[in-house]
Each structure stands twice: as structure tokens, then as C-alpha cells.
Amino acid sequence: MVSAIFIIAVGLGTAFLLGLVKSDQKGFAFTLTVAALAVMTWIAYDWTVALSRGTVEPATILTAGTQPPFAINLHIGLAEAWLLTVINATGLLAAFYMRAALCRLGKGAMSVLLVMVMALSGLVLTRDVFNLFVFFELIVIATGGLVLLSEDARAVAAGFKYLVVSQIVSILLLIGIIFTYHANGSLNIDDIAAVPFGLQGASLAMFLVLMALVLELKPFPANGWALDIYESAHPGFSAIFSAASGTAALFAADKLVAAAGPAWLPLMTVIGLFTFLGSNVLALKQDNDRRLLGYSSVAQIGLVFAIVGQRDILGEGYLFVAGGVLITHAVAKAGLYWISGLVPGRGLADWAILRANPVLVFAFASFVAMLVGLPPFPGFYAKWDLMHALAGSGRFWIMALILAGALVEAGYMFRFFGYAIKRETQERFPGFAVDKVAVVVAALAAGWALGFVWGGISLNPNLLTLVPVLFALLFIVLEPLPAWVKNIIAIVGLVGWFWFRMGNYDPLQMIFAAVMLVGGAVILIASFYEHGRRIGFYVPTMLMYAGLALLIEAQTSFDFFAAWEVLTIGSYFLILRGRMGEPHALSYILFSLGGAFLILAGFALASTGVQPFELKSGLSAIAEASVPAAPWVFALLAVGFMTKTASIGLHIWLPGAHAEAETDVSPMVSGILLKAGLYGLFLLVMTMGRQKIGSIDLTEVLVWIGAISALLGGVMAIFQEDAKRLLAYSSISQLGYAVFGLALMNHVGWLLALMFVINHYIYKSMLFLAVGGVYKRTGTKLMYKMGGLITLMPFTFVSVLIGIIAMSGVPPLSGFGGRWLFYNAIMASDLRLPMVLIFISGPIGFLYLFRLIHTIFFGQLKDEHRKLKEAPVWLVIPQMMFVLALLAFAVLPGMALQKVDAYIGTFFGDQPLVWSGRAITSTYGYWSPVAVMVVIGVIFVAVLLLLMSMGLNAQKVKQFNIVFSAERPFKPQTTHFAWNFFAPYRKAVGFLVMPLVTTFWGAVTDTLHSTADFTRRLYTGNGQTYAVQVLVFVVAVYLIVLGGAQ
């Protein structure tokens, strides 16, 4: 092993050596610099590997041949090694990245860079508090120098502001250090005795030291200077400033906090959380990319600092958690800054230029996912462990605040990403420099590698070794292939996995697996209609299916949550692909992440310290033991799941997301994705049963929510002019039924919910495909612009017809089965009032469905549609499969449900349904699907024959041959009654569709935004003001501590 001090020696030596290089030999100087950084990186990496493998022990490096505390010593352990690797690798990559700028400024700049990296490494390594100060000042000065690499003239002012602030910091630090020395008689960190929380003597000295280090972490709101640097510095340097400096400073603070003792942790937590939340909120309002990333950096460091404040409860997992978040942040933020250097414009939407290179888009997506803590990146595992630790020790407020801040961060990061994917930019595409792209790709690779490593270290399964996830990621490699090849692979994969796993499923899983996997494959048939390569479609799609496949099989809470997140990511990117999908994808991801966070909180609460727990037995255990937290677990999980089922109140993402999605994506996200939430709810009620908060039975609340969703979803669907939106609202309504049935907590109710799972999948997929086909041909989704398509698109018409008969519950098709079960279910329930809502919503379904079929297929054909062709054959094929399935399911519902019925019976110990032959008998009634079908069929045929016997000579007429008060129609447009179709209904019950929920969520975001806009005016840009703010911060914390200590 090479001693870690060589990192310092090589860095410094090379910096001095550069002075000997002739000024005009810039290439040589650069090579030397890079070589030195490479050696430093290699040393750090070598240590990391060796320490991780356990082949070497953590080492203390003495200087001057004297034992500490009498001489400065350095220490390298696993944490140090990791951070050194990050710092040096960032420096190395940044050097590559800034090659042009470095060569422009000459060897001086290169030595500054080397010293910077060296000093950051020193900051990590040293165990001497004054040495810490020296390295810290080196960093300050080097930063002051590297800021000049920027071609932005404003950077000079930013650098000066930074120097002003660092002057104050160093004053505090020095005073703190000297008094700490006085108190301890030593400058060695390991010798510093823990001090009580307070402002007397040693405590005050420690306070000053800590405050100085905290200020270096850019705490909100004393961080204007840092943001100015982020905004104006060379992106290559910003990467160092964010990734490496932040990391090193944080580690330094961590060392001191550890020394100061546990009494100081709460203060650190508060500062960290305040920074995390404040910066994230402020970032909402940023329109400069680098400044936005700056805010995000500050916030992330704040988060890690808050985690530092939790080190007392994290125990051995501390490094895993804090390191996970810290390192992911470093990699992601460095990557993002490097990308920002490739983008010529500074507006957020200017990143749209990245679309010229899919690799960069992928990188951007990966970095955003890393920041937000999505799988498979380390932040995800860290988040999981952290929340469990917090819940385990009752720190619920911290949990809530961290999750809230993370949600806000996800908000602006994903909005940013959405801009890049969907917006247009004024900037001209400059062509990306290959070397810079390579640097970004290196960061990207590092991020994924970290994900793999963290997954491996984690006690939980490594997501990057799971077959479905790998299968989805395989499509990254397959991207150059034509779409149809990928489609075949995808279908084979889905069906194959189902086939392979089929033996392991219980009947409930079987139903969901069949719907999600086989059903997904059927929908994918429709994807054959796309030509070309369809870049960026298959990875998210398969990621979503991977998540679903894993979700069904999840054994532990972790499996479940990981699968949930995976499917959320996949579906987000899918929805984002939609034509106007940007805002909807954003609200989707926000609601989904919010939901996911609630689920995480719920699991954490349920884990009672042991994580992960076996999902079913774990949940039933806390329910049976009547743990006080149990109802809250139930509530958190239920709300989390209902973000996916889009129950009312959490539904506002759905209409847009479904409506704007691509033709074959809409059925996926509607027919399949929503079922994930239902599956979760199923698990929940199966394991936890009825839970009460106070005297309120939560399942009854669910019943109400389901009923209200069913009603309002339907009412809103009635008033839509956009066909896909109509279907989307209808999904809300349908899922409301399912939630309702589930929450009735009786056998038939569950069966009803399962029936909806199957039925809703079939007919909603079919309808979305049909409407998608129509959209493909007519180029519009507005129903009043269509009309009369029945003869032009007969197959599509048939599927819509069957779909709406089935969906409205009219016998003989399968929807009736649902209604029949529904009545049997409510008969067995004690609840009465929610039924009223369901009764109202039943016929309402009829209204919007009629509107759908009427305004598209009937009425007046428009001029421009006269030559339309039937929808593409690949869209029609799955529809016809669905038609057949519906008919089959209508006649033989027992085929799918009988086994599940028996399975549900095991939960309730009853068997209310008797499946005799082809008839079903319940406690209350009976139903014979075959008989119904036959009777209706026979009557229908008889009547038809009767009509035909009364003359076959009907003259076929055309669309204007109608009785028009002895006039003739003027134009098809004015003759087609379609717009505001249910006007009287709006007059009567329009008050029901007042957008209360939208207004509410709108007010929430508005409040956040205006808070952000108001607060960010703190940052006046005046360096002196920043200095005052720093002092204010110090004094405020001082007063708080003063108050807290007394």
C-alpha cells in the first residue's frame, strides 16, 4: 500500500514542479497535472478497495516521527478512503474537463487545481484541528483562484464575496481553535473531550469551531456567496466546489461534531434540516441552471449534515447512510455541472439541447435519480436505512421534514428534467465536445457503479442483480436496434418471466401477474406500430414492468418499496414521453414520490427497528399485537398506495398523465400501473385488517374515499371534451369502485375488487388503444372534432362498443358481473351511506361512455376525415384480443375468479359464493352468466329476424339525409351535437366538479413558490450583506444555543 500522505506529497510536489515547466509548454504541464491527479486518485482508490476488502487495516500516518497529539497525524479509514477517491476522481475528471480553461490560464492555474485537490484530501485526512484550519485556508485561497477559470466576468465579484465571508469564518475558527486548545491542552481531534451543550468556556470554543465549519457548509440562509460562485464559476470547477469541497468540508465538520460529543447533535440536525428545506424551497424559483444546481448542492449538504446529527441512532449504518447520500450527491452534482458546461444557454429550458445526444439525456436522468434518492443508487438504500433508524427512535418530525424537503427537491429537479426533454430552446446546437462528454460519461459510470457497490454493501438485496431490473437495463444496450426487434424481446421477456414464475404465485398474485405481465405483453403488441428505433421507450417501459414483476413477488418490506420506486421511475419517464406530458409527468412523479415517501414512512414505522421485515407476517404481527403505531402505519401505507390508484384528492396527476401519454403508453399507465396501488391496498387490508384511529375505522374511511372517487371521477369524466381525459377520469372512478370493494372488508367485496382489476385492465386498455388509434388518424383528441367514424374504423368501433357495454355494467357482458358482486358485497356490509354515492356513480358511467362512443363514432363525419383509414393493424390486434377476452370473461367469470374466491375464503373463513356449473349463487341472489347470454342472444336474434322480415329494402342514406325541420344541415361541424354534451347535467350538478382539489394543490405550490420568491431576495448580491447574514446566522444560532442551554 502506498501511504495516503503521498496524495498530499504528490499533489504538492507536482504543483511546485510545475513552476519549473516553461510557460509555453502548456500541454506538458497539463499532462503532468493530470498524471499527478491520476496517481492521487489511484492511491485513494487502492485504499478504498483494500479497506473494503479488509486486506488492510485503517492506518494512522504519523508525521515528524512523533506520536500524536504532539505531532500532526493523519488517518485513513474506510470513510476517508471513499471520500478521497471521490475528491481526487472529481479533481481528475474536472482537470480533463477544464483542459481548455487551464491551458488558457497556464501552469499557475494547474498548480492551483492540484493544491486544491491536495488540500481537500488533507482536510479529509488530518486529525489535527489547526492543520484542519490550514487546509481549510488553502481551500479558500485555491477556490479564490479557480473561480477565475470562468469566462464569466461576474465570477470575480463572486470570488471576492467568498473571500470576505471566509475571512469571518477563519476569525471564528481561529478563536475557537485556540480556546479549544486551551481547554484540552491538545490540538488533536481525538483528544478533544466531549463538551456539554452550552456557551461556557470549552463549549463556547467548540461552538465557534463548529459554527465556522458549519458556515463552510453554506448553511441556509448564510450562503449567498456560495450560490454566486455556483452560478458564475466554470462548471468544471463548480463540480469540484460542489462535489469535492462540499464532501471534504462535511467530513471535517463530521470529525469535529464527533469530537464535540452527542450533546451537539440536535443543533446540527436543526441547522442541517433548515438548510435542506430552505434551500430546496428557494431552488423552486430559480431559472438559472447553475444557480439551481447550487441551491440543490447546498440543500444536499444540509441533508447530510442533518444525517450527521443522527449519528447517535444510526450506529454502524452511519457511514453507509451518510456516505451513501454524500457520495451520490457528489457524483450526481459533479455530473450535472459538467453537463451544464456543455449547454450553451443558462436558462433551464436551454438544456433541451441535450436531446441531441441520448447518452447525455440518460446521464441527466440518472443524475436526477441519484439526487432524489431513487433506486438503484446509493441514496435509495441510505434513505431506507435512515428512515428506519429515525422511526426506530421516534424522530418522526425529522422524518417528515426530510421527506418533505426531498419532495421539494424532486419537484424542481424533475421539472428541470422535464424542460430538457420537452421544451424547445432558442440556442443553436453547438456540437458537444467529445472529451467533456467523456467526463460526464465517467461520472455516469461511477454513479451506476456506486449503485452496484452500495446495493452490495446493503443488508438488503442488491437491486442491480435482480433479473427483471437487469432485463430492463439491457435495453439501454439494445437501443440501437430497431423498435420491432426490441418489442419482440420485451414481449418474450414479459411472457417468459410470467411463465417462469407462474408456479410460485398464489391466486391473488396470479391475477395481478397475469394482468401486469401478460397484460403488459398484449399491450406491447400495439407498440409494433411504431417505426424507427424509438429511443428511450423500452428502458422505462421495461423498468416499469420490472418494478411490477418485483412488486408482486415482494417478500419483504424492502423488496416491496424498491419495486415500487422502480416502477415509479419507469412510468415517470414513460409519461414524460407524452406529447404535452411535461407538467403531468411532473405532478405524477411528485404525487408518486410523495406516496412512496409515505409508504417508506409506513414501513419504517411498522418495522419496529428490525428492517426489512417479512411483509405479510410483519404487518399482520403489528396489527395483531395492536401496536399503537399500527393504525398510523395503515394510514400512511393506504395514502401512499392511493397516490397510485389516484383516489380523489390525490388524483390530479392522472388525467393529464394518461391523456397526454402515447397511444400504447396510456393503456399501460391506466390499465396496468394503477393496479400496483390496488395490489398494495390488497396486501394492506389482508394483513392489517380493520384499524382504528380513535373511534374511526380506517377501512370505513377507505370506503368513503372509494365511493367519492367513484362518483367524482365519473362526474368529471362527463364534462371532458378530450377523449383520453374522459377515459382517464373514468379510471379514477373505476379504481374508486375497486378501493370501495376492497375496503368493504368482506369476501365478496374483495372479489369485486379483483374483478375490477381484470375488467378494468381489459376494457380500459382496449378503450385507450381504440381512442389512441382514432387520435393517430384524426390528429385530435377533442371529441367534438370527430364524429361519424363508425364506417371508417369499424374494428375500433366494435372494441369501443364492447368496451362501453362491459364497462357500464349492462348485461350480458362482464361489467355486470362486477355490479352483481357489488350488490352482494354491500348487502353483507354494515355501511349504508357510502353506497348512495356508488349508486349515483353507476349510471354516470353510462353517461360519459355514451358520450365517448357517440361523439367519436356516430353523428356527423367531418370533411377532413372522409378518407380516414382504420387504425393501424397493430393497434387493432390487441383490441380484438381484448374483445374476445371480455366475451370469454363475461360467459365464464369463474375461469378467473373461482380459485381466487377460494383463496379469499381462507381470510374470512367463509364461502358465500357457490359456483355450481355455470351459475353462481350467493347468500342473497344468483346469477347464471351463460343463461343470461343465451337468453339475450336468442331474443336479439329473433327480434332482428323479425325486423328483417319486414323488408330488407332499406335505402342506405348519407349523413345529411336527416330530417332537419324541412331544411338541410349546413355543415357537419354545426350538425354534430357533441360539445358540452351534457349541458343540463352541468347546470344541475356542476358544483360537484369545482376544482377544489386542484385549487388546493395549486395553493400549496403557489405558497411554496411565493415563499421562495420572497425569501430569495435575501440574497441581494452585495458581498457585505452576505457577510452580515453570516454574522446574523452565527449570532442567531448563538442565541438559540444560549436559550437551549439554559
Binding site: V115, N131, G201, L204
Partner: protein
């Protein structure tokens, strides 16, 4: 003053008063130790044997806290480099600079020529004796640089041979690092001064590598200050 007394000043005053209470608390809470603390005592007792330096402070600076000192040197190095960078971007065209100043008088120039060797020698004396008497590399280096300053003041148009300065700067820094590494190879650790024999206590050639290191530091500091001065001098407005 009252007219300038802005709200900012009021805020600053209040803040500083509050900060002052913290300082007040530190001051009133401070009681000087009766005896040396253990670190200081260790140095007091062991310095002669371990480093062979008479000047305990020097021993601490060069050896025990050698890493700090290396950092310190680096600070100056950095500053010099950055000042060069900062000012380099607004460097005056060749020949144009300094033209605003007339050359100083004969008297001054002659005086400079007389004084300069003395100043340089004094500087060297200070850093060579750093381990024995108060003083050392930084002080000596500063004295060296003051000589340079004198030179500049006497003749504003004067240009140093930059290459020489930079070479001195770099080589001394490099050797410093190498000596540090040599400590790892042949003595107890990085920057251990015992790679050279400790020699006779109190002699000029004693205390191991300390005089050598201090010489390097002195040269380096002198070179760096000179280079900063030079950068300032070369700006357009100088």
C-alpha cells in the same frame, strides 16, 4: 459620522455587540494555566532530544507541525500564483507599464545598491539561525523580499528575471516536499527532521534538517513575495 450611520451600521453594531458578549464570556472565563499543558510540556521536555533545536517554536513549526508549515508555504505559493493569475489578466502591454513614474534619483539608486546585499545577507542570517534564535524561514524570506521591494521602489521600471524567481520558488518547494518524503524513507515519518544527524545542540549545523528546511522556506518565501510584488508592479496602473 452620524450622517453615515446607516441601518446597516446599526445592524452590524448590534450583531457585533452580541458577538462581543461571546467574546466577553471567553475573556472573563479565561484563566491562564498554572503549568504547561501536556502538549506544551512534551515540547519543552523533548524538543532538544528529538529535534536538536534550541528554539522550541521552530521545532514545532518545522517538525512537529511541519505539515502546517508546508501548508503555510503552499498558501504563499498559491497566493503568488493566483495574484499572478488575477493580475495577469490585466497585465499592461510590454514597455508601457511603469512609464508614469520617473526613475528615482541617483542617491536612492546608489543607496539601494549598497543596502541590498546587506538586506539579503540579513535575511539569510535569520533563516539559517531559525532553530537557534527567534526568527526563521518566514521572517528571513520576508526580509529578502523587502530587499526586492526596495529595488522596485528605487527603479519602478525594473524587471526581475522572472524565470529565476520561479525556479527558486519551485525548486525550494519541491525540495521541501522531497525532504518530507525522505523523512518517511529514512526517519520516523513525513517531514521528520532526523534524516540528517541532529548534531551538537545549539550549533548552527544541528537540529537535523531544520536549517535546511528553513533555508528552503526562506528562499521560497522570499521568491514568492517577490513574485507577488512583481505581479503588482506589472499591472497597468502601477
Amino acid at each position: 459620522m452620524t450622517s453615515n450611520f446607516t441601518s446597516r451600521a446599526a445592524v452590524a453594531l448590534v450583531l457585533l455587540l452580541l458577538l462581543g458578549t461571546a467574546f466577553w464570556s471567553l475573556t472573563t472565563g479565561y484563566s491562564a494555566d498554572a503549568a504547561l499543558n501536556r502538549t506544551a510540556e512534551y515540547y519543552a521536555v523533548n524538543t532538544p532530544a528529538e529535534t536538536g533545536a534550541q528554539n522550541v517554536v521552530t521545532a514545532i513549526i518545522v517538525t512537529y507541525r511541519g505539515l502546517d508549515t508546508l501548508g503555510e508555504v503552499t498558501v504563499l505559493f498559491l497566493t503568488a500564483a493566483i495574484v499572478a493569475l488575477v493580475l495577469g489578466q490585466s497585465k499592461a502591454p510590454r514597455g508601457a507599464s511603469g512609464s508614469g513614474f520617473l526613475p528615482s534619483g541617483e542617491l536612492l539608486q546608489t543607496g539601494t545598491k549598497m543596502l541590498l546585499p546587506l538586506i539579503l545577507m540579513f535575511g539569510a542570517y535569520i533563516f539559517v539561525n531559525g532553530h537557534l534564535t527567534p526568527g526563521g524561514g518566514f521572517q528571513g524570506g520576508a526580509v529578502l523580499a523587502s530587499g526586492m521591494l526596495l529595488l522596485l521602489l528605487a527603479d519602478p521600471g525594473k524587471r526581475f528575471r522572472k524565470a529565476v524567481i520561479h525556479r527558486v520558488e519551485s525548486l525550494s518547494g519541491l525540495f521541501y516536499v522531497l525532504i518530507g518524503l525522505a523523512g518517511m524513507a529514512w526517519a520516523g515519518g513525513f517531514l521528520d527532521n532526523r534524516i540528517l544527524p541532529l548534531g551538537q545542540f545549539g550549533q548552527i549545523l544541528s537540529a537535523g534538517a531544520i536549517p535546511l528546511i528553513y533555508t528552503l522556506i526562506g528562499l521560497k518565501v522570499g521568491a514568492e513575495f517577490s513574485s507577488i510584488l512583481e505581479s503588482l508592479e506589472e499591472t497597468e496602473d502601477a
